[in-house]
């Protein structure tokens, strides 16, 4: 009884505290744990390295947010990343001067792959989880087939600069992530496209009845996710180079980050900044688990638990 009455009479600023996205507290807690484990991470250099490493996931999670807000999933992004990295390596191996065309090719293929996902979901009425799962398999198979099962070619340093270099100690990858995040924030929160995206996710039938081009909006959301995968692939291959497993697992990390950031699966809710915090938190958590000496299988266990707990929490909050 007393608890309920206290809650009803909470002063405004405490109620304000309750409305803070829990992801910021989680991020703070994880960063605090990292710093307590090793104070060196308070320094500028190490902190920037952490942020540079998180950049591909930030970009990918923001792209994933658009699809989640529209009421779908995009499981194809991880193998799209691997596919693009392998294609670029093949192309740039024979003609290393084609760095900018290769980057353009990545973006175009990313957009096209997203468009196909969106068309299949919108017009063939295939649930997005199945459509993008099919795309995942196709891209994975195509990438391995084209490269013969093993990485071919190296990426020239000019291509890798975006993911690897720093300007005045500030990682270029982080600049890319910030620019992409800002653009996404403007599109999602300041345009009529953004409002329509929320409507489509919250109630597609109502959206259609009020004149929204539901199919068009959905296709655009998947294209945005494809674009984010392309940018993320460029950043990731810049950071660590070519491998046939480069993008493995990134689709689930992106979904985990979005959910951690308060995006509601099945659509209609979520915003850019908390999702970026979610990506940072997830990456910071992996770093923390590394510092604590957790092996990779345990990271998977933790990630699985996070997805379940975050979804359960957001269901209760509703």
């Amino acid at each position: 009884m007393s608890i309920i009455s206290t809650r009803n009479t909470l002063p405004g600023r405490l109620r304000g505290l309750r409305s803070i996205e829990p992801i910021y507290l989680i991020l703070l807690a994880i960063v605090a744990a990292i710093v307590l484990s090793n104070p060196i991470y308070l320094d500028y250099g190490p902190m920037m390295q952490l942020l540079r490493r998180s950049s591909p996931l930030i970009v990918l999670a923001v792209g994933q947010l658009f699809v989640i807000v529209s009421g779908g999933f995009d499981l194809s992004v991880g193998s799209l990343m691997t596919f693009l990295i392998l294609i670029c390596a093949l192309l740039l191996n024979s003609s290393p001067e084609l760095v900018y065309p290769a980057i353009a090719l990545c973006l175009v293929v990313g957009l096209a792959s997203g468009a196909v996902n969106g068309l299949v979901v919108s017009f063939w009425k295939v649930p997005s989880i199945i459509a993008t799962l099919g795309m995942l398999l196709m891209l994975r198979g195509a990438g391995l087939f084209l490269s013969g099962g093993s990485a071919r070619g190296n990426l020239p340093d000019t291509f890798r600069a975006l993911g690897r270099d720093s300007v005045f100690g500030f990682p270029v990858a982080l600049i890319v992530a910030i620019v992409f995040g800002t653009a996404a924030w403007l599109v999602l929160h300041r345009t009529s496209f953004g409002r329509q995206l929320y409507m489509v996710g919250a109630n597609p039938r109502a959206a259609r009845l009020s004149g929204v081009n539901v199919a068009g909006i959905r296709i655009a959301a998947f294209m945005f996710s494809g674009l984010s995968a392309a940018i993320s692939a460029i950043l990731l291959s810049g950071f660590s180079g070519v491998s046939t497993s480069a993008g493995n697992g990134y689709e689930l990390q992106a979904i985990s980050a979005a959910v951690l950031g308060g995006a509601v699966l099945l659509g209609g809710r979520g915003s850019v900044v908390p999702v970026i915090a979610g990506a940072l938190a997830l990456h910071a958590l992996f770093t923390l688990l590394n510092i604590w000496g957790f092996p990779k299988p345990m990271r998977d266990v933790v990630q699985g638990l996070i997805i379940i707990c975050a979804v359960a929490y957001s269901a209760r909050r509703k």
Partner: protein
């Protein structure tokens, strides 16, 4: 706040589980002293056979009679492959396919792909046996224990050759293997110890726990480091063979310890990513161990590193086909284990093995340079 509490609980549970796992990992089930000593001794032995064709050499004089398998050709050779899921297998399988072309008395080469699954590969072997088409069966087991009964069933019907990974039975006519994982790990660790007379910080990067051919590498190295009190192993981490994880781990350790004097690796696929962590932070690249992948050799040459590359030669895929024709011709072959040489790439032999025209994950010890399709078949350019 229930999420936070749950989260704390999760972390506590995960921590407990990880403690239990690391306790398991310290268990010595992967260490066999007698086998270890035998491999170390074999490193100094002189191989029997022509040095220009190491895939035909044997480290031991254990040739066995195979006249009971003699059969008129042309033959059908069957191969149950565990799968093609890493560059080592890609290079080996291509070499094997080229070797097949050199044998006009092999009329059919039937290959099944186990896709990295034990159950699929067991079914594959049973299907191959049931087809009655095979004159001889080659097997690269996906995992040791699971494939042993299937290999035993095959042995009862026809001659069997196992390579790449082992099985827990000596029924195959021969098991083709390089000297072994203890020798591999020890070579790399000895190099580090010798190069650091005043001691230093050593970081060990491993692919994943629980794989016998990898565990042996680390258990031999671990013992050598432990026997040298000046060497401090600051960490032994799993990269899952992922370049981004390897690079991140090295960055984290550089932050934590400030100084890394040597990096020991149980495989070379992520060596270059690990080296890049030093380059990006702007500190000197320390002593490194890698493998015979071209990207590592190229980096070694370019940066003039203090490095060594033990190998697990892919030329054994060639040996398997040659052994099959020898057995079906009734010629003597080494058995029950055919120990192949396990060359180590050092600064003296680096130039010989660095091939700028080959893909980054091409293994220098493919023994394939004299084959008809070289270099294009392996993805290289002339």
């Amino acid at each position: 706040m229930s999420l936070k509490r749950t989260f704390k609980g999760v972390l506590a549970a995960a921590f407990a589980a990880s403690m239990a796992m690391s306790a398991l990992a310290q268990d010595n089930k992967f260490f066999d002293q007698a086998e270890h000593d035998r491999q170390i001794a074999m490193l100094d032995a002189t191989p029997i056979g022509d040095g220009d064709q190491p895939w035909l050499q044997s480290m031991a004089d254990n040739f066995r009679d195979t006249s009971k398998y003699k059969k008129d050709g042309p033959w059908t050779v069957c191969f149950s492959n565990a799968g093609i899921f890493n560059p080592w297998q890609v290079v080996g399988y291509k070499t094997m396919q080229e070797e097949i072309k050199l044998h006009s008395n092999i009329k059919d080469f039937i290959v099944t792909d186990g896709e990295g699954k034990d159950d699929k590969q067991i079914a594959d072997i049973d299907d191959l046996l049931a087809s009655k088409k095979c004159d001889i069966l080659l097997v690269t087991p996906n995992t040791t224990a699971a494939l042993t009964p299937a290999v035993e069933r095959a042995c009862a019907q026809l001659p069997v050759i196992v390579f790449s990974r082992g099985v827990a039975t000596e029924c195959p006519v021969t098991f083709i293997t390089p000297i072994g994982g203890y020798a591999y790990g020890a070579q790399a660790a000895r190099f580090i110890v010798d190069a650091l007379p005043d001691g230093g910080n050593v970081l060990a990067l491993r692919i994943s726990p629980g794989v016998d051919v990898l565990e042996t590498r680390w258990s031999a190295a671990e013992r050598i480091f432990a026997a040298n009190p000046k060497i401090k192993v600051i960490g032994s981490e799993f990269t899952n063979d992922d370049r981004a994880i390897a690079k991140s781990i090295v960055e984290d350790y550089l932050q934590r310890f400030g100084q890394i004097d040597a990096v020991w690796m149980d495989a070379g696929a992520t060596s270059v990513a690990a080296i890049e962590a030093f380059e990006d932070i702007g500190v000197e690249i320390p002593i490194f161990t890698g493998e015979d992948q071209q990207d590592f050799l190229a980096k070694w040459q370019e940066k003039d590193l203090t490095a060594i590359a033990p190998t697990y030669p892919t030329f054994q895929w060639r040996t398997a086909i040659i052994a099959a024709t020898q057995i079906l011709s009734g010629e003597k072959v080494p058995g029950p284990i055919w120990y192949l040489p396990q060359p180590t790439i050092t600064v003296e032999t680096l130039d010989k093995y660095t091939q700028a025209n080959m893909p980054p994950q091409h293994y220098a010890l493919c023994g394939c340079e004299d084959m008809a399709g070289y270099p294009e078949v392996w993805g290289g350019t002339k």
